[in-house]
Symmetry: C2
Subunit: 207 residues, 2 copies
Amino acid sequence: MARKPAEQSVNRLDILLAAANVFRRQGYHGAKMSDIAAEVDLTAGSLYHHFPEGKQQILIEVLNEGLDQITAEVQAVVDDNTLMPDEKLRKVIYTNILGLTQNTSVAAALVFETRTILENPEARKTYLKRRDAFEQLYNHVIQEGIDARLFRQVDVPIFTKTVLGAHNWVGVWYREGGRLAGEQIAEEMSNTFLAALSPVSVPTAKN
Amino acid sequence: MARKPAEQSVNRLDILLAAANVFRRQGYHGAKMSDIAAEVDLTAGSLYHHFPEGKQQILIEVLNEGLDQITAEVQAVVDDNTLMPDEKLRKVIYTNILGLTQNTSVAAALVFETRTILENPEARKTYLKRRDAFEQLYNHVIQEGIDARLFRQVDVPIFTKTVLGAHNWVGVWYREGGRLAGEQIAEEMSNTFLAALSPVSVPTAKN
DNA sequence: TGTATAATTAAATCACGATTTGATTATTTT
DNA sequence: AAAATAATCAAATCGTGATTTAATTATACA
């Protein structure tokens, strides 16, 4: 029979996960070190054994981990050369959203706590570069679809921000066990943005 | 010649505007009372003359003011009975986004600082009710369009959240003087979501 | 087994920032 | 121009919460 989870000492990753949860509930500033510590059955002081760099470093690593993971998921789809631009974008969006619903704590942190990290000049530079790179993934796929006449001509940067804004918000309102599963939401939203790019109907204000 | 701007005493509204700016730059928790005060050439203590209820009340009123204003703008469009559902939605989105670009500080506060206010039970209840009401405006217009066969059948709550997520994000990335003016962004984004609802092309995963 | 190292804790620090207080200065009102 | 009221300020409070410190306990290792 499975042995009792052997209450071994926690590691950095445990703490990052715990911190992400507390950040989601209370925000970075509202999260006391003791709150994070409690989440892993430790004392505030003990956290400094694992993170001598302190609270902000915890946030930095939460965000980096999160962005890494999401980027990796999306990048994998982008690298799939068997997909046409339209199906690629659909899959990118689907994958991205599904990922967010599966990791809402990190998703929320990426939305709400990024500003905090940006106050730190070094972290800022690194982080923004990676976030831009992520945004470029979307820009490229969309541009490809336009070039292939599969999408109507949209302003690519704006469209990307539109998509990513909608994505981000998922991490805020999505609740596990809600009316729809993550897969359904991902399906619905990817349909929405693919339809938005459909070249056939180009509705304009006039007429 | 124009008289020196008569350094009259500031009023509550001045302070709310100033606070919104500081909140945008530094976030609620990062905003010191002295920062807000400096923005209107006052001392931290002086703020308490205008807001004896303190810092949180300032935030509450910033958010309420902001939500009020945006709701009013959108409601006016919704009440225009001369518009068909599709053109009504287009105008709703356009108006909403344009409003956000014209008041980015408040827009950002509505996104980032809402959680803070929610910790306060009374404010929470009031605020959430109004935010839901706002969301309902969108739900209704969209449902009308579906009923009139002007829109394809989407999951209305999800679509609304998709739209609002994209909206919210505008307040984060939009910068005055950027490549596109608020009007152009509003135009582009309203096109996007109207296209997304177009009943003709119903792209699905199975081509 | 005994010694070094890792984890953890409880109990200080220590700084910062919201709020309060007690004047002081402007502006109205009569 | 008094008298009352409004605005403002500089200088205390005062609590909170991150970080530090000095042990204590557990684990690895030789």
